[in-house]
């Protein structure tokens, strides 16, 4: 962890480490008191179990948030004066990079679905937090953004 990390990364690590070797995910809100991480359930396996042709991966190599839980969490946070600023998910033993699947889902057809968000990828190796990187959509593609720390 870098010295300028806010401390939220500790809460995120505490969420994703026990989920290893599956991926974890969640939201980060910014409010009057700084950043707040909110873990979300990874429901990819539910889709894989029922629609394996459309969702061929599992929680080990993919994540998908429960969309209704997601929308309600965003609405609740906005009522408290918070704003969604970052999405995080973990990678198990493959490093903190923004994969093609990450990019295809975050900016399908090259258009951001949720403009302006930061995307944090948390590397978990052998069940332990290793590092994280933050990415932002700039000039049509995702690039590492060291200006935003968790």
């Amino acid at each position: 962890m870098a010295v300028n990390d806010s401390g939220v990364i500790g809460a995120i690590a505490a969420h994703v480490e026990p989920l290893y070797p599956e991926e974890g995910c969640g939201l980060v809100f910014e409010g009057p008191n700084g950043l707040r991480a909110l873990p979300m359930k990874n429901v990819y396996d539910k889709y894989h179990a029922r629609l394996p042709d459309q969702f061929p991966r599992t929680n080990r190599t993919a994540y998908r948030m429960d969309e209704l839980q997601l929308e309600r969490a965003i609405e609740d946070a906005e009522k408290q004066g918070e704003k969604l600023v970052c999405i995080f998910h973990s990678h198990c033993d493959v490093g903190a990079y923004f994969s093609k699947e990450d990019s295809d889902m975050a900016a399908p057809d090259g258009l951001e679905m949720r403009p302006g968000l930061k995307w944090a990828v948390i590397a978990v190796n052998q069940g332990r937090f290793a590092t994280y990187k933050v990415f932002t959509f700039v000039a049509g593609q995702f690039a590492e953004d060291e200006s935003f720390r968790l």
């Binding site: 995910c25 990819y44 889709y47 029922r50 629609l51 459309q54 991966r57 190599t61 993919a62 994540y63 998908r64 948030m65 969309e67 209704l68 997601l70 929308e71 999405i87 998910h89 994969s99 093609k100 699947e101 990450d102 295809d104 889902m105 975050a106 399908p108 057809d109 258009l111 951001e112 679905m113 949720r114 403009p115």
Partner: protein, 90 residues
């Protein structure tokens, strides 16, 4: 007519309206009818085969239509459809 909740990134097609009304007896008909009041929105929802794009989720009341009858899911005038872009990846 059913109520359709529009996510923020697609409100450019609905003059910033968060909810619109659209007619149809199935989810597919309602979503296609959106094109009348929100021209261009169909290109963001449907793939070239006419199915929903992978990152588009549509909830019929509180259930993902993929777990119902997909675009053939029946819709009543009192129903609400929510279009929610997936947050997902690998």
């Amino acid at each position: 007519m059913a109520t359709v909740r529009i996510p923020t990134p697609l409100r450019t097609y609905t003059q910033n309206q968060a909810e619109v009304k659209a007619a149809g007896k199935t989810v597919g008909e309602v979503l296609k009818a959106l094109e009348g009041s929100a021209p261009g929105i169909g290109t963001r929802l449907f793939d070239e085969k006419g199915g929903l794009k992978r990152y588009v989720n549509v909830f019929h009341n509180d259930e993902d239509i993929r777990f119902l009858k997909d675009l053939e899911t029946p819709v009543a005038d009192s129903d609400t459809l929510s279009i929610i872009p997936a947050i997902a990846g690998g």
